[in-house]
């Protein structure tokens, strides 16, 4: 694998080890003592020959950049590298698995991957590592700049837009496509296997490995979805269950539930036919089998409603137990429901308002702790565990549904009208599903299924069968891009107009293109840059572009990791599932605002505002926010929050259940935001958990435990980068609330950023990071490109990344400029024709060793 990530991992491990070899740099008297190990390298000579008088700075941190030459001769730069870098990156020591001993600036064009690796490290200011001597002035900047110019020139001579195999619709894209096409809301996870991620994203083509199971899943989905969309008057009785998370609070109302209810669940369920359905509620029990919440002062009631209309009220008997014949289940009598999507809700009837906490505050009204469920003196609420729908009993047919209206755009009134009507329907649906106008053969194939179905069961069955075939067709499932027949191997060809329409739409909307886009693509008009940009702007203005936040940003920032963290219920009793999803929504809306309002990318770091609703505002201690709707608010001056560093999502997903983790937070910043992940810890490092929790009779703070842990020099070499970043955020606890103490001891969040800047809080961290926006901007661009292209960004893409960087910098890094920059790039609009079917660089295809 030659991905960027691997390259930077190697790079950092090199610097990491470099530090071990030296005693504590601060303890070494500057300038006078020779270096302990690199005897061959006199720090005094680290200055480039051209600037003998430049000040030499030692110790942690970098020299203040002084005015310096803007160009250096190739031979001088070769000397700089040899003197500054080749001490550790020597043939013998090969730190970071890299030797620069034979480095020659005049030959670097032959090693572009190496050059890009060096550029990355130099621009991040991470090389040479803290404490290592470095040349004075802006010599290193000149080195980086020169390398960049050489690489850009090299690229200009032989541009490489890269290539990949075709993509298939992943779960998210499949859901959006089906919704667009048939108007049915489905959960793709019911059929399709989990998407494999690579380089943060779930749409990377080369890991979308074909398999029989996968193919089968698409066929299962096609079969079921076509029945749901058309309706199935012969549907047999089956059960669908919806599970309610243990951490879901039963005090908060859930979204979609009727007013005056609390807890439970509300879902859009697609009923296959008009008929009778039985709804079943399962309640949580405590370990000894009684109802969780049995100490309530009266029996609770659960309302079952369909589209907000009460259908049944179930009594929750406080005395119920697992030992009862029906266990913890309560079911309704059969209830008549019509086919199609209906919102069904099972929720408690809210019977009292006001404070519900008495002697002991209940644990966030979630069920994180089960033992308290029958204790007197604690107001516990019973918890719905599962909501199930069984049916249809006595189906009577299929009445009008939104998806039927969408499918049946015509109705045959006489037998001879049936086939022309089916043809009309399939021509329209087919073009939409295949994201292009249908060819005669396409239609022929689909109508064969209509004919077979119609023969068995008439017009409707015919159309349903044709829709099933449509959903199974490779033209729908795969996003295959045409290759001109005359394309010469190794040459670059333009992505065809139709294919470009899909690329653009799946990038900006995460969904198939609309008619306008397809039409422009078909007519070749998207080849015109002006049209392409205008379309991009049009699409950004459409609300569907929120996919850039819910799909791109959520994956880039790893928001789904929040599901893996279950904060300790006793320490963080307020944490509940609703809060976690509010936090994710906050970050998504924040990002969406940046894109929609075309704000500067840097606001991701500097914003003094965010999006909250009442629950989240309370959690953050922001006054004056009422109601469940999210709105933009400014952080109070004293909140300590700034930009994304104030988001509960980020702070929680980088924590352990019972303590914060400056290591995880530091790593998250380095990996996700800067694109320079620290190397994985070497094997057999002692676990932080093994470090004692207390000393001298008091509990240690996380920082103190980390320092004990870090006494080990092999840990220290990397953690000197990671920990100060994370510690600067340590005033936020496991679920993102402000704190000034930990385990009773005042927090000490002071640390030295790797460039020597003193940082103690998120604001200072943000300022230290923004001193060097280049790595942040480039890393963001790379992620955006990977997501847009469906492939990992490789070293040969870096000139294109720098080009976009230069474009966006001109106007203060506006978000939409990034997106337009990616769309305008060669990599997005062109592709390289493969030399042959050689796939040696693609890990999944490397022949197995057997």
């Amino acid at each position: 694998m030659k991905s960027l990530v691997a390259a930077s991992v190697g790079g950092l491990s090199l610097l990491a080890v470099a530090i071990i070899d030296r005693p504590d740099p601060i303890a070494t008297p500057a300038l006078t003592s020779p270096l302990a190990t690199s005897a061959s390298f006199d720090p005094l000579l680290s200055d480039p020959p051209l600037r003998p008088s430049a000040p030499i700075r030692r110790g942690l941190g970098h020299p203040v950049l002084a005015p310096a030459p803007t160009a250096l001769a190739a031979s001088a730069l070769t000397d700089v590298v040899k003197k500054t870098c080749a001490g550790c990156h020597s043939d013998q020591r090969k730190q970071g698995n890299l030797s620069l001993q034979g480095f020659d600036m005049t030959n670097i064009n032959g090693s572009p991957e190496l050059a890009e690796k060096m550029i990355g490290k130099l621009r991040a200011g991470m090389m040479p590592p803290p404490g290592r001597p470095r040349p004075g002035g802006d010599t290193l900047n000149v080195l980086a700049g020169t390398l960049e110019r050489m690489m850009d020139a090299r690229y200009a001579l032989n541009p490489n837009p890269g290539t990949r195999t075709f993509q298939r619709l992943n779960r998210a894209e499949y859901e959006r496509s089906v919704k667009d096409l048939l108007g049915v809301d489905i959960k793709a996870e019911s059929w399709l296997p989990l998407d494999t991620k690579s380089a943060n994203f779930d749409n990377i083509a080369d890991v979308q490995t074909p398999s029989a199971t996968l193919l089968d899943s698409y066929l299962d989905a096609a079969s079921e979805i076509s029945r749901l969309a058309v309706g199935d008057p012969k549907a047999s009785v089956s059960t669908s269950s919806y599970r309610i998370a243990r951490l879901a609070s039963q005090v908060d109302p859930v979204e979609g539930a009727p007013a005056g209810t609390r807890g439970g669940t509300s879902v859009l369920h697609t009923f296959p036919a008009d008929g009778q359905y039985v709804f079943t509620i399962t309640l949580h029990a405590i370990p000894t089998g009684q109802l969780f919440g049995s100490a309530a002062p009266f029996d609770e009631k659960i309302e079952i409603s369909v589209n907000g209309e009460r259908m049944s009220v179930l009594e929750v008997d406080r005395g119920m137990s697992q030992a009862d014949p029906n266990g913890m289940e309560i079911r309704t009598k059969p209830i008549s429901v019509r086919a199609g999507p209906q919102r069904i809700t099972a929720a408690f009837v809210r019977t009292f308002e006001g404070p519900v906490n008495d002697n002991i505050a209940p644990i966030g009204h979630s069920i994180a702790d089960t033992q308290i469920g029958s204790q007197a003196g604690i107001t516990t609420q019973s918890h719905v565990q599962m909501f199930a729908v069984t049916g249809p009993f006595n189906p009577t047919g299929v009445s009008d549904t939104p998806s039927r209206r969408r499918i049946f755009s015509c109705r045959p009134l006489a037998p001879e009208e049936a086939r022309p009507c089916a043809e009309k329907i399939m021509t329209r649906l087919g073009a939409q599903a295949y994201r292009r106008p249908l060819a005669p053969n396409d239609l022929k194939g689909l109508l064969a299924f209509y004919d077979a179905g119609a023969k068995d069961g008439g017009f409707e069955l015919g159309v349903r069968t044709a829709v099933e075939a449509l959903l199974a067709s490779p033209h729908f499932i795969f996003r295959v891009e045409e290759m001109p027949a005359v394309a010469k191997p190794g040459s670059r060809v333009a992505v065809s107009g139709i294919d470009l329409a899909s690329r653009l739409s799946f990038f900006v909307w995460g969904a198939p293109p609309d008619a306008q886009l397809v039409s422009l693509g078909r007519r070749g008009l998207l080849a015109d840059t002006t049209v392409l940009i205008a379309q991009t702007k049009r699409m950004l203005a459409d609300k569907r572009s929120n996919a850039l936040s819910t799909r791109f940003a959520a994956q880039w920032l790893r928001l789904s990791d929040i599901e893996k963290v279950h904060p300790d219920a006793l320490q963080y009793p307020d944490f509940r599932e609703q809060l976690a999803s509010d936090m994710v929504q906050e970050t998504e809306m924040f990002f969406d605002h940046l894109v929609r309002e075309n704000r500067s990318f840097l606001e991701l770091y500097t914003a003094n505002w965010t999006y909250v609703n009442e629950d989240l505002a309370k959690h953050y201690g922001i006054p004056g926010v009422v109601g469940t709707n999210f709105r933009r608010v400014e952080y109070p001056a004293t909140s300590g929050r700034v930009g994304i560093f104030g988001h509960g999502s980020v702070l929680t997903l980088t924590s352990h259940a019972n303590r914060t983790s400056p290591v995880l937070r530091g790593k998250w910043v380095m990996e996700v935001l800067m694109g320079t992940p620290p190397p994985p810890p070497p094997p057999d490092v002692p676990d932080l958990e093994k470090t004692g929790e207390s000393k001298e009779g008091r509990l240690l703070t996380t920082r103190e435990r980390m320092e004990e842990h870090r006494a080990n020099p092999s840990c220290r070499s990397c953690h000197v980068f990671i920990d100060p970043i994370g510690l600067a955020m340590d005033n936020f606890d496991v679920n993102g609330q402000w704190r000034i103490r930990e385990n009773g001891t005042p927090l000490d969040t002071r640390g030295d950023f790797y460039d020597g800047t003193k940082i103690t809080n998120a604001l200072e961290l943000q300022k230290a990071l923004l001193k060097r926006p280049t790595p942040l901007v480039r890393n963001f661009t790379q992620n955006l490109m990977a997501y847009a292209l469906g492939r990992r960004v490789e070293y040969y893409d870096h000139p294109a990344v720098r080009k976009i960087e230069a474009q966006v910098k001109a106007n203060n890094y506006r978000m939409q400029d990034f997106i337009v920059g990616v769309v305008k790039s060669d990599a997005f609009r062109l592709k390289k024709v493969m030399e042959q079917a050689d796939s040696g660089t693609r890990g999944v295809s490397v022949p197995g060793v057997h």
């Binding site: 290539t163 690579s198 398999s211 193919l215 079969s223 199974a472 033209h475 890990g843 999944v844 197995g848």
Partner: protein, 462 residues
């Protein structure tokens, strides 16, 4: 296509490009196709691993004196009448009792773990490994016996293995004492960190095995449609290939191979259905039935059918859940399961709990009847199957894990003699018996398993 080339893809290599999660497809991609069947030669025994929780009344001092679980005599002349297994008398030729083995890995290893036995034992049963105490996602125990088997021999069938259960998972009562719910809910672990989800709804299990559709004619109809859609898809792919680059063409070829694989699976099911036996349930089950016995029988029906159609050869089946307070009125006592298991060592309490144990075992003959009635080539299905039934707990009153219940049923392709009570020497780990079971299943190169100290001869009582 890897699985057609006969080359297995090394897992590490496969992982190189992946950052996070791996989904279903890797199972297919990593299997050397055709190879399995050559090794298998239709001789790989069917495996059902059944876990019952809460140990048995016969595992405390009084209970063992009364022979409520293991019979008094070792060897062939054992008397089942006083035991909870008396309902198996008619199948004693298929019965191998392994008594006196310990599940020490389910015991607490640090003070924090004391008391949490109910919440970690199930994870230990088929792994014989110690569960890491965590409520987070960093769960770790061991790879379970059934999965070691399925990885090697389950790949020739359309579904390598399936996990079933009776009790609702993720109820309150799990996730206590600092243990993640998966330790309580999952007995099958495909790796030490990957618990497999369990299916409770017979309908869901049924559809996964036999396809979607309420009746057998509906399923047949769907299979027909599926086949014509496969033809259509393969035609579309072939025509697509014309305008593609070589890489894309290569990938499409892989998909075309997949189409043939899916067709092969359908043909297999149809061939089975045409053999004349009424192999399919006329009606697919609607959901989870109310009664325990009905639910268990339905799950047994499904397993027997899947074996008959050779859709999978490996099941794990969790018949209980730790801490459950379900009552079994047909057993003769209406005490809830968990409270009854804390019988206090009184004669009354022990005997009441024994009634529940006895009732649970009495579910098995139904399954044995079914398997015995299925003929395949040279013998009946019971001859070809190995059923493990046991519990990772011994005396539930004390939460101990010594002298735990463990029996085998079936002949595992003639490799188990049956009619045998093996009394292991004191202190023998249950892992020893399980190691031997794996050898019986053909995993001959397995030398380590859990805390095993060696193998235990399953055909000798010496």
């Amino acid at each position: 296509m890897y699985f057609l080339s006969g080359k297995a893809m090394p897992r590490r290599q496969f992982l190189q490009n992946l950052s996070a999660t791996i989904a279903l497809p890797y199972l297919d991609a990593m299997i050397p196709t055709g190879r399995g069947s050559r090794i298998l030669a239709n001789k790989a025994p069917r495996l059902v691993a059944i876990e019952m929780v809460h140990g048995a009344a016969g595992c405390n001092e009084l209970g063992s004196k009364l022979n409520l679980w293991s019979p008094a005599a070792a060897g062939k002349q054992f008397d089942l009448a006083p035991t909870a297994m008396s309902s198996l008398e008619q199948y004693r030729d298929y019965l191998t009792i392994i008594s006196n083995t310990d599940v020490r890995e389910a015991e607490p290893s640090s003070p924090n773990e004391i008391g949490g036995d109910h919440f970690r034992s199930s994870a230990t049963f088929l792994t014989q490994a110690h569960a890491r105490q965590t409520e987070g996602s960093d769960v770790r125990v061991g790879t379970s016996l059934d999965q070691l088997y399925a990885k090697r021999f389950g790949q020739d069938t359309p579904i390598p293995s399936m996990q079933l259960c009776i009790e609702n998972v993720d109820q309150a009562g799990g996730c206590a004492y600092g243990y993640a719910c998966v330790y309580t809910d999952s007995i099958s672990w495909s790796s030490p960190t990957e618990p497999l989800p369990v299916i409770r709804d017979p309908r869901v299990a049924f559809e996964k095995l036999f396809g979607v559709g309420g009746t057998s004619s509906e399923r047949a109809e769907r299979r027909r449609t599926r086949r014509s859609i496969l033809d259509f898809v393969s035609g579309e792919m072939s025509s697509l290939k014309v305008n593609l680059g070589p890489d894309d063409r290569q990938r499409l070829d892989k998909y075309l191979e997949d189409i043939r694989e899916v067709e092969r699976r359908i043909q297999r099911v149809e061939a089975r259905n045409q053999s004349g036996d009424p192999r399919e349930l006329p009606e697919a089950p609607a959901g989870v039935p109310d009664a325990f016995a009905e639910h268990v029988k339905l799950m047994f029906d499904i397993q027997a059918l899947a074996f008959a159609a050779d859709i999978t050869r490996v099941f794990s089946f969790k018949m209980g859940r730790d801490g459950s307070s379900r009552t079994y009125p047909e057993s003769g006592t209406d005490k809830p399961f968990h409270p009854a298991s804390h019988h206090g060592g009184t004669e009354r309490g022990v005997k009441d709990f024994n009634m529940i144990n006895k009732y649970h075992v009495s579910m098995l003959p139904y399954f044995l009847d079914k398997l015995k009635s299925i003929q395949e080539n040279d013998g009946n299905m019971l001859d070809k199957t190995m059923i493990i039934y046991g519990s990772p707990m011994g005396d539930s009153n004390l939460h101990n894990h010594r002298r735990c219940p463990l029996i085998l049923l079936g002949k595992a392709e003639g490799q188990l003699a049956g009619n045998l009570h093996i009394k292991a020497p004191d202190g023998t780990p249950m892992a020893n018996a399980m190691l031997s079971m794996m050898h019986t299943l053909g995993l001959n190169d397995q030398t380590k398993f859990g805390d095993a100290t060696g193998a235990l001869n399953l055909n000798s009582y010496a």
